[in-house]
Every structure is written in structure tokens, then in C-alpha cells.
Symmetry: C2
Subunit: 206 residues, 2 copies
């Protein structure tokens, strides 16, 4: 995602897994960070705990990502990359089909365990901790709204974009986290068919 955090030289013991083509130490640290923040909560999560989960030296975590707040922001940035793609998805075709493109895009992310789990971990952290929520707002939400709102015509574009996202995020929460039936087992195409017009209504309604 970014190369800004790449270290000039490494400290501590060499990271395991890279020589045999496994995930890089950086990737392992980000995955470990999401697990640590989701499992222990933002306040109790520690650089040391993240390092242990990633099987690296704590100094390496700090060297790549800085203090805890920045480790969280980085772990979040990778997890929410699909959300950050939303502006491009919206602008990639006719405005009257933006609702369906957005709905289809997010179900594409959520129906895939590899992209869903990091996102759910971030949501769990933000739901549970005010500091995590505030980092989430400052990084993801601001970035997104700044790019989405100008694409929408009419008044209250930011609010309408949020209500569209609320429909999809609420559906994700009931389907993947609380696992409410029959929603949890519903066919994704059926859900897209039902939700796209509603999302479109929010996006289009000035």
C-alpha cells in the first residue's frame, strides 16, 4: 500500500517466513495487529503482543510502523482498502447504476473470507473503543467522503452517501457478525438485487 514505512535497515532478529516465500514480516505484523486489536481491544493491545503474534522482535514493529496508534492506523488502512476503492467504483460507469456497482463491490469484498475478516476485525475494534473509532473516522471516513461527495449531485451529498453505506454496513453486521437467519444464508445475488435500488435511491435522491 505504502512504502513510507519501509525500514532503512532492520533491527532485532531476522523475520521468519520470508526466505521460503511466506508472507513478508510487514504483512505478518499487520495481520497480527488486526488480530491483537480485535481480540484484546485497542487499550489492552500492545506492540509486544503484536510482535509475539507475528513472531518478530517488538523493535521491528516499532521500526516499521511507529507507536501503537500508528500501528493501528496502518493495520486499518490495509484492511479497508476495498472501502477506499469506493470512489473509483462509483465513477466507473453510469450514475444511475452507481448503487448497483457499490452494492456489488462490497458484497464482492465480504463474500471472500480473505478480504472480509480483516475488515470485520477493524469494525470490531472501532465498535469497542473510542480511540479506535476516532482513528477510523480520521483515516477512512474522511478520505472516503472527500472523494465520494463531489461525485453526487444534489444537497447533503455526504449524509446521503453515509445512509447508503449504513444500509450495506447494517446488512453486513446482521449477516456476517450476528449471523441472523434467513439473511445469513441468503443468496448474495438476491441480496444485491434487493439492496441496489435502495442504495441508488440514497445516492441519487437530492
Amino acid at each position: 500500500m505504502t512504502t513510507a514505512g519501509a525500514p532503512r535497515r532492520r533491527r532485532g532478529r531476522p523475520a521468519a517466513g520470508e526466505a521460503d516465500g511466506g508472507p513478508s514480516a510487514r504483512e505478518r505484523i499487520l495481520t497480527a495487529a488486526r488480530t491483537e486489536f480485535a481480540a484484546r481491544g485497542y487499550d489492552k493491545a500492545s506492540i509486544r503482543g503484536i510482535a509475539r503474534r507475528a513472531d518478530v522482535d517488538p523493535a521491528l514493529v516499532h521500526h516499521y510502523f511507529g507507536p501503537k496508534e500508528q500501528v493501528f492506523a496502518s493495520s486499518l488502512r490495509d484492511a479497508v482498502q476495498p472501502a477506499l476503492d469506493i470512489p473509483d467504483v462509483l465513477s466507473a460507469g453510469a450514475p444511475e447504476e452507481a448503487g448497483e456497482r457499490l452494492t456489488r463491490h462490497l458484497f464482492g469484498v465480504w463474500e471472500n473470507t480473505f478480504t472480509r475478516e480483516p475488515l470485520l476485525a477493524v469494525i470490531r475494534s472501532a465498535v469497542n473503543n473510542e480511540t479506535a473509532a476516532s482513528i477510523f473516522r480520521a483515516t477512512v471516513v474522511r478520505q472516503l467522503l472527500k472523494r465520494v461527495a463531489p461525485q453526487l449531485t444534489g444537497t447533503d451529498a455526504e449524509l446521503r452517501a453515509e445512509l447508503a453505506v449504513a444500509q450495506l454496513v447494517g446488512t453486513a453486521m446482521l449477516r456476517y457478525i450476528i449471523k441472523v437467519e434467513p439473511l445469513a444464508s441468503a443468496d448474495p445475488e438476491d441480496l444485491i438485487r434487493r439492496l441496489a435500488p435502495v442504495v441508488q435511491q440514497h445516492l441519487a435522491d437530492g
Copy 2:
């Protein structure tokens, strides 16, 4: 809410607060339970911790409510009573205005701190723990759907009711938990005006 948990005789030291008209020991235990489950997570929460927060003997918690799972279910039942009122709200007028009644009812609950906070505590627990989520499904969701679905005409009534609730729950999450602006500061009447037609569309659309 229920009198089934009322003890025949009390054990442990007498509960504080009742003599001077404060909340009953039962109410204090339920409030303490929601705080304990939200703060520590379902797995780490304990009867002892709940008793400490409520300033009662642990034996009294067990005597009123039984083991941890049942303490959670009881603390949840009180917190979600406004949600359990939904079937009555839906049937209390013309079907074509059910979407507005539901939206207005839930905003009435959420805009009041005293009814919002217990509900948010329950949601935090369910988002964070599979056991808590499963108790939530078995008690709240089942009860609700059983009474709501028969009121809706057309196919897939349960699924449609869940998508309506998803719009409102997603909005609540972004507004009250993540506190995303401008949604967090938007006028409730403006939100009801925007959301009621969408909720109605889900409820009515066969």
C-alpha cells in the same frame, strides 16, 4: 419485565440503595451485567465482577438470574425491550405507514441516552463474542421475527424485515458508535424523513 427471576428469599448481605428509593438490587445487577459484558467481553465477564459493580453479594446475582449465560440473556432482554415492541409498533396503524412508525420508534429509543446505552452495550457484546451473538439470536431475533413476519404480505417477509432493520441498525452504528459526521449531528427528523421511505420499501416490497 419478568417476575420469573424474583427470589423466594434473599441470601447474602442486604442490597444497598433500596431503602432510600434507589434502583432495586435486581435493576442494579442488570445494569452492572451489561457494563461488565460490554467492558470485559462475554468470555471474561464473571458473576463476581457483576456483583462487585452492583455492590451485592455474588450469591444474589446467581439467585436472581442463574448462571452467566442466563444473566446475559436477562440483561439483554431488558435492554432490547424497545426492539421487542416493534411488532406492536408495526401493527398500530396503516400498513403503508409502517416504515415511518418503525423508523420513528427506533429513533425515539436511540435519541434517549437512558434507552440507547443499554442497547449499545448489548450490541457491543454481540459484535465481539460468538456466544453472546448466539444468545442474542436465540432470544431477541427469533422472538421478533416470529411476530413481525406474519404482519408482512408477499414473499420472503423475514428477509425483508431484516433488510429494513439493517438500514436502521447500520445508521445507528455510524451515528452513535462510530460517530461519523455529518450523520452523527444530523437532525433526527431529517433522518426519519430520509429513512422512512426506504424502510417502507423493504417492508412493502413483496
